[in-house]
């Protein structure tokens, strides 16, 4: 990047809010996705909307790519500056603007850590349910841009179900305000929904208003251990079929349990093939009844043992263990590549079986955990990027997992986003007309392609696998 342009940026935000040294640029060259890395030209921390407008105008004039970055916990290379350009940080835009108790909303800047919002509203007797596993680290801006899910998605939905209004700087430097503190609003196209999950490709979010709900009075957590993955998966289907909608219905297989136990030492048994973590919240009576019913169903489906968390602390330990599952799996091999394949919840057992067969077929190590209750699984390949032959098999295995998920009526990503990693597969899910429409939207909003270029849309698409039946 030319010096006079760098100088312009430092005039906008102040030189002390620009990072440009070798070490600093390297520190913003990656996110949590394996095998993607590329340094930006500059890292900028604006303080407010006005500065962001000026930055965007300059980038637009000079055709400089802009990558908005929260805490860099993205799992699809969505925040890796693969085309160079500037990384925008929100570490100076991390304030809670307003808690509106009359309208049950909270307005925040994009740099607030998700956990901070959650704690703050709970102190006020309110509840912000989306809880991605990285919520202690991730920013709300990142969550909105990725439409993040979490452990409570089954009952409470995902981030998009809570975004009421957005302030966004568009690629031409104009400011768009969508929605409001409104439960109903059908004035034109739903631009809020378009922007949520747009992965920084349409604009820069500068303020977010979230819907809140009353904090449930009671919650209780149970666990069930199984002899087989199938028993656990069938328990999930039976619970849903029994018209119980728990807050959390999480699944971990043997390998994942081992890794979590290594890290947490919470006493997970070594002789179970799978476990389910079940939580219900709400009125005392409903919670007790639903949890007992879920335990009964698990036993009926052959659970080897079940238990109810004795205290809130014990329940938190179990949930913390589950949140750490992906990172804990990294203990086993040098590289972890995880997927986010999601199927209709009735297909969970089929999906789990297919993953096992695929791991065997390609001789790769796959551990699976995930949000079983909403059909969102995270099969994770444990491998080594330095072994090209193995990586080749891993890629084939992952492609086949995508294929199976789609043929079961599912999707290539449930909550992590497309980013650059899954861009080649997007067409498998949404078809040619889907890609075309998305491209037209992108072209209309960002004709210069400066907003997170290279993400969502692939340069080359992957040929859809042809699976021989009877294999």
């Amino acid at each position: 990047m030319e010096e006079h342009i760098k100088k312009r940026f430092s005039e906008i935000v102040g030189a002390q809010h620009i990072k440009s040294s070798q070490a600093q640029l390297l520190a913003y060259s990656y996110d949590a996705t394996a095998n993607f890395q590329s340094t930006p030209d500059l890292v900028i921390s604006p303080e407010n909307l006005e500065e962001i407008i000026e930055i965007v105008k300059l980038c637009s004039k000079e055709s400089i790519p802009i990558i908005s970055r929260g805490s860099g916990t993205n799992l699809a290379a969505g925040t890796v500056p693969t085309q160079g350009g500037i990384v925008i940080l929100f570490n100076r835009m991390n304030q809670i603007v307003e808690l509106d108790k009359a309208n049950l909303t909270i307005t925040v800047q994009p740099g607030v850590i998700t956990q901070v919002i959650s704690n703050y509203v709970e102190q006020n007797g309110l509840f912000y349910p989306p809880d991605p596993s990285s919520m202690k680290i991730s920013t709300i801006g990142g969550n909105v841009s990725e439409n993040s899910g979490g452990l409570r998605g089954l009952k409470y939905g995902v981030t998009k179900d809570y975004v009421r209004a957005l302030t966004v700087v568009l690629p031409n430097g104009s400011v768009l305000k969508t929605g409001g503190k409104l439960a109903k609003d059908v004035a034109g196209y739903d631009l809020t929904s378009l922007l949520v999950g747009s992965e920084g490709t349409l604009g820069i979010i500068t303020e977010i208003t979230l819907k809140l709900i009353p904090l449930p009075v009671h919650k209780k957590t149970g666990i069930a251990y199984f002899h087989s993955l199938e028993d656990a998966a069938e328990t999930v289907s039976a619970i849903i079929a029994d018209k119980i909608i728990p807050v959390t219905l999480e699944f971990m297989d043997r390998g994942t349990m081992d890794a979590v136990e290594d890290f947490m030492k919470i006493g997970l048994p070594k002789d179970a093939e799978a476990m389910l973590l079940m939580e219900q919240d709400g009125d005392v009576e409903l919670v007790e009844r639903d949890l007992q019913n879920m335990i009964d169903i698990a036993i009926e489906k052959g659970a080897k043992s079940t238990a109810i968390a004795a205290s809130a602390e014990e329940a938190d330990l179990l949930k913390t263990g589950r949140r750490a599952a992906l990172s804990a799996l990294a203990r086993k091999r040098p590289t972890t590549i995880l997927e986010d394949a999601t199927v209709p919840r009735s297909e969970i057992a089929n999906m789990v079986r297919a993953i096992q067969a695929i791991a065997k077929k390609y001789n790769v190590q796959i551990s699976t955990f995930g949000h079983a209750g909403d059909g969102n699984l995270h099969p994770t390949c444990l491998t080594d990027v330095r072994d090209l032959e193995e990586m080749n098999r891993v890629e084939q295995a992952l492609e086949e997992i995508f294929h199976v998920a789609i043929s079961l009526g599912g999707t290539i990503t449930g909550e992590h986003g497309v980013g650059e990693m899954k861009a080649p597969y997007l067409e498998w899910k949404i078809g040619e007309s889907g890609i075309q429409l998305m491209r037209q939207i992108k072209q209309a909003v960002d004709p210069l392609n400066i907003m997170n270029p290279g993400k969502v849309f692939a340069k080359e698409k992957k040929m859809r696998l042809v699976i021989q039946h009877g294999e």
Binding site: K19, S21, Q22, A23, Q24, L26, A27, Y28, S29, Y30, D31, A32, T33, A34, S71, G72, T73, L89, N91, R92, I113, S134, K136, I137, A259, V260, D262, F263, A324, A325, L326, S327, A328, L329, A330, R331, P334, T335, T336, D384
Partner: protein, 443 residues
């Protein structure tokens, strides 16, 4: 153009920094909220464990070349290792940063200031207990002779960087203790348990009183205390600063000094030392002569709080009767907490102290900025971290802040003094605090 120095630095990183440890990091970012420098820099990834590991990798692979920014990123790390318990993937960050410092130390000409501090610290004071004792005698003379008063008055200390000046003012008053070198092994005390005491070079000199009280408490609880004479500095400060080979040499000396089946435990009262002692096993893993002995040594190593609990200190404290009025709080020693994973024991003891109510200090688990000689080498960052810590102290208003490590003790004292709170609260080593309680309550 890569200079010759830069090329040698890359080679040194390849030689010393273990690639497999680097590969353990999957970059999830779970370490970020645990890292004091990441938080103190308003979330600068450059000053996070994930950022530093990425930088180690980039140095090895030639994606960056050695320059001031790379050097600073590694220098700013406290080495507190709070990222380790936070890491689900089990990354051995402590080993990585130690190896990084070895790699740098092999190639890089040090700055004059750093060279001075390192040279005095590592080649003389901490390598040789006698020299340490001499230096301490000088400090003692300096304090007793009235020279301290005079020096302060004439502003001689204005010549030093501000932080050094503050550190000088919190030097503990050194008692002359004729019994210091007495080997208590000869005292006829009924045997309950045999404890060998690792006195620590700072603890044995600047904090002699604390060591005396450590022995007294252990004996009060029926232990027989031995002080092997040949012991040397644990080697931690060397290890943390790229002088690992020197640290490991001290390890061998200490392992020999404590090599006796008679000892049930090897106790220490300094968190920083204790962590390194417990890692002798790791450092001497491939030393055929010492690996087994090192393993035995590390297994016997225990911190004073854990041992006091084992010996029944809680029961003793519970005999005291006094109403709760003053607040006592605890600042974790990073290495005691993050390496030895001891954080409950000191708190359990403090909860049982008569006359005090234990209250948790906000972010007690986060480093105070002392970190060995970090506060001398990185005074600005150390100050920023300490200022944040003192905000919590001011909110809590404790009568006593308890610590488990001499560095933390002095750093917290600097903080208290800086805030002008020295009349309202004391900073004490856990042993000194407990000893006074036992005395006062005639337990």
């Amino acid at each position: 153009m890569v200079s010759e120095l830069q090329q040698r630095m890359q080679d040194s990183f390849r030689e010393h920094v273990n690639e497999e440890y680097i590969m353990d990091c999957m970059r999830c970012g779970f370490c970020l909220p645990a890292c004091p420098t990441y938080l103190a820099t308003n979330q600068d990834e450059t000053h996070s464990p994930r950022g530093r590991i990425a930088l180690m990798k980039a140095m090895r692979e030639g994606d960056v070349v050695w320059d001031g920014s790379v050097e600073e990123a590694f220098d700013v790390c406290l080495g507190c290792r709070a990222c380790e318990p936070a890491c689900p993937a089990g990354v051995q960050y402590g080993a990585l940063i130690e190896e990084t410092r070895v790699a740098i130390q092999h190639v890089k000409p040090q700055s004059l200031k750093e060279k001075g501090i390192r040279n005095v610290a590592f080649n003389h004071l901490f390598a040789d207990q006698k020299k340490m004792a001499t230096t301490v005698k000088l400090v003692q003379f300096y304090q007793k002779s009235g020279l301290q008063k005079i020096t302060r008055k004439i502003g001689f200390l204005e010549l030093f960087p501000p932080f050094m000046k503050e550190m000088e003012s919190v030097l503990p008053i050194i008692e002359t203790n004729k019994n210091k070198n007495k080997n208590t092994a000869s005292l006829p005390i009924p045997r309950k348990i045999n404890v060998a005491f690792f006195t620590g070079c700072l603890m044995d000199t600047l904090f002699q009183e604390t060591n005396r009280k450590t022995i007294a408490l252990l004996e009060r609880l029926g232990a027989q205390v031995f002080i092997p004479k040949e012991q040397q500095c644990c080697g931690a400060l060397h290890g943390h600063s790229g002088e690992l080979a020197k640290g490991v040499q001290n390890a061998r000396i200490n392992i020999d000094a404590f090599d006796s089946d008679e000892y049930d435990y090897i106790v220490n009262n300094a968190g920083g030392c204790g962590a390194f002692l417990s890692e002798y096993e790791k450092h001497l893993h491939s030393d055929k002569l010492y690996n087994e002995k090192a393993s035995g040594f590390s297994k016997k190593t225990i911190d004073i709080s854990s041992l006091l609990i084992k010996l029944g200190m809680s029961e003793l404290l519970k005999k005291g009767i006094a109403e709760s009025n003053s607040i006592v709080t605890y600042q974790d020693s990073c290495h005691l907490r993050n390496v030895n994973r001891v954080f409950l024991e000191p708190r359990l003891l403090l909860q049982d102290v008569p006359g005090f109510e234990y209250k948790e200090l906000i972010d007690a688990e986060s480093c105070c900025g002392s970190a060995g000689i970090y506060n001398l080498l990185q005074p600005e960052m150390a100050k920023r971290i300490l200022d944040a810590k003192m905000k919590g102290v001011k909110d809590l208003q404790p009568a006593v802040i308890v610590t488990s490590n001499p560095g933390c003790l002095m750093q917290m004292q600097v903080g208290v003094q800086r805030e002008g709170l020295e009349k309202e609260m004391k900073v004490l080593h856990i042993v000194d605090f407990l000893f006074d309680v036992v005395e006062k309550n005639k337990l």
